[in-house]
């Protein structure tokens, strides 16, 4: 009982961290894409 | 105020007249309701006594599916020939356009419900005639809840890509309290549990939901239609 108890406690906290880290990774990916796109567009505007 | 209500009534009349001429959404949603009723008989293979315990749930699932089909057309029917723009440009307050649309959807959905109720009773041996009036009161309140939220979301999503997919995804989670209350009450009524509608807390809940969303939607529709 105590071992499963601890195991599920571990699962719980890891799940929480994994969800948050997953969200952070999502944010980072989206941020990179936006930065790249923004730089490209600014360069295009300057070219004109 | 009275002018707005008069305008709302004429919009509701116009909607109902076009609908009863073409019968496009009422036919579709009534036959859809029938098909689902038939499908349920294959999904649940249980004795008649036990069936009473899930009857309210089944009935309201059917009604909410039919409702989503009806409100989907509510504002979308104005899109061809830019009728919606003309409606918005007309000297009628936004809330009365909305109220008219909601009332029309309410009448249509109530028609579908009254059509499918006898079929439901017939297929599943549910005795509903004895409790028809209390059931009708529940149907009025819950149906208004479904159509007022539905018409609001219909206005909201009218210009959205994938409107037909987006509306149910937004509508059903919002409708959960209405459906819970209506399902519980209907199951209790059909299972001939004593329900005192005047004091029942679920009945009050339906009333609260209707009031909250009617006022919210009538106030916010201005922002939706006149961007």
């Amino acid at each position: 009982m105590d071992i499963t108890n601890l195991r599920f406690l571990f699962y719980g906290y890891s799940a929480a961290w994994i969800i948050v880290i997953g969200f952070v990774l999502l944010l980072v990916r989206r941020g990179r894409r936006i930065d790249r796109e923004l730089a490209r567009l600014k360069a295009l505007v300057e070219d004109r | 105020m009275t002018g707005g209500i008069r305008a709302a009534i004429s919009i509701a009349k116009k909607d109902l007249r076009t609908e009863f001429r073409t019968k496009e959404s009422i036919n579709a949603s009534a036959s859809f309701a029938l098909v689902i009723l038939v499908l349920f008989s294959f999904a649940f293979d249980i004795a008649r006594e036990e069936f009473y315990a899930i009857s309210g749930g089944l009935l309201w699932l059917v009604y909410s599916f039919a409702g989503a089909m009806i409100v989907n057309r509510s504002f979308a029917r104005e899109l061809p020939n830019d009728c919606l723009d003309v409606l918005i440009a007309s000297p009628v307050p936004a809330w009365s356009i909305f109220l008219g649309k909601a009332v029309a959807a309410f009448v249509l959905l109530l028609c579908v419900e009254l059509l499918s109720l006898p079929v439901f009773g017939l297929f599943y041996n549910i005795r509903w005639l004895g409790v028809f009036w209390p059931l009708f009161a529940i149907m009025m309140l819950a149906t208004w809840g479904i159509t007022v939220v539905g018409a609001g979301l219909s206005a909201l999503t009218v210009n959205v890509r994938l409107r037909e997919l987006m509306l149910p995804a937004l509508l059903y989670p919002l409708l959960i309290p209405v459906l819970i209350a209506a399902m519980q009450l209907t199951t209790a009524l059909l299972g001939s549990d004593p329900v005192n509608l005047a004091t029942d807390s679920e009945m009050r809940l339906l009333l609260v939901f209707d009031i909250v969303y009617t006022s919210l939607a009538m106030y916010l529709i201005e922002f939706i239609l006149v961007l």
Partner: protein, 226 residues
Amino acid sequence: MREKFTYALGLGGLLLMIYNLHTIFTVLPDEAQQGAIGRMLFIHVPAAIAAYLFYTIAVVSSIAFLIRRNFAWDSLAVACVEVGTVFTFVNLVTGSLWGHVIWGIWWAWDARMTTQLMCFLLYLGYLLLRPAVSEPTQRGVMSAILAIFAFADIPIVIMAIRIKDIRTQHPSPVLETGGLDPTWWPPFLIGIVALALIGSALMLVRLHQETSQREMDSLRRELHAI
């Protein structure tokens, strides 16, 4: 400056969280009836509270957007809803794991769980709607109205479910009963603060992205105009 502030918030939250984890796992004794799994409280409840905090900010900024039509409010609202939804998900997952140990089932259709799930679904609908609308003003107005609709739904859902299901297995909320051991209060409160800080940092990052996205859209329009 902005980036430094965001990192400081995030780092502060993270440090608090690590300090808190140390207290939770090494200092505090096991919960008398539940054993080790009782410690799930320190992530489960703060996540729910932080989520509601962000939902509240979201509805306030949605109303502000409808009145002021300033896109900063729209960005704030969407950033808050996204972080709130992530925290609601954390709350649901940890609760489900706790229930698996204590109740022996992953999910009970109990009042608070159902409410949380509804919240999650409502705000998921909000996040689904946004990419479907391309015109910025329209998108802002629609999502603001949906945020208000969703927020109004939460108390009614709570009412509906409480009527239906009086006999709940879910422990009474500590905030309502105050039945928490004095030694458990500090890590519990620190947990709320830590998650709120981490959430704010994430929210600021998201907010900045939304601002850049808008800048990008206006650049695109400019390019088309040329």
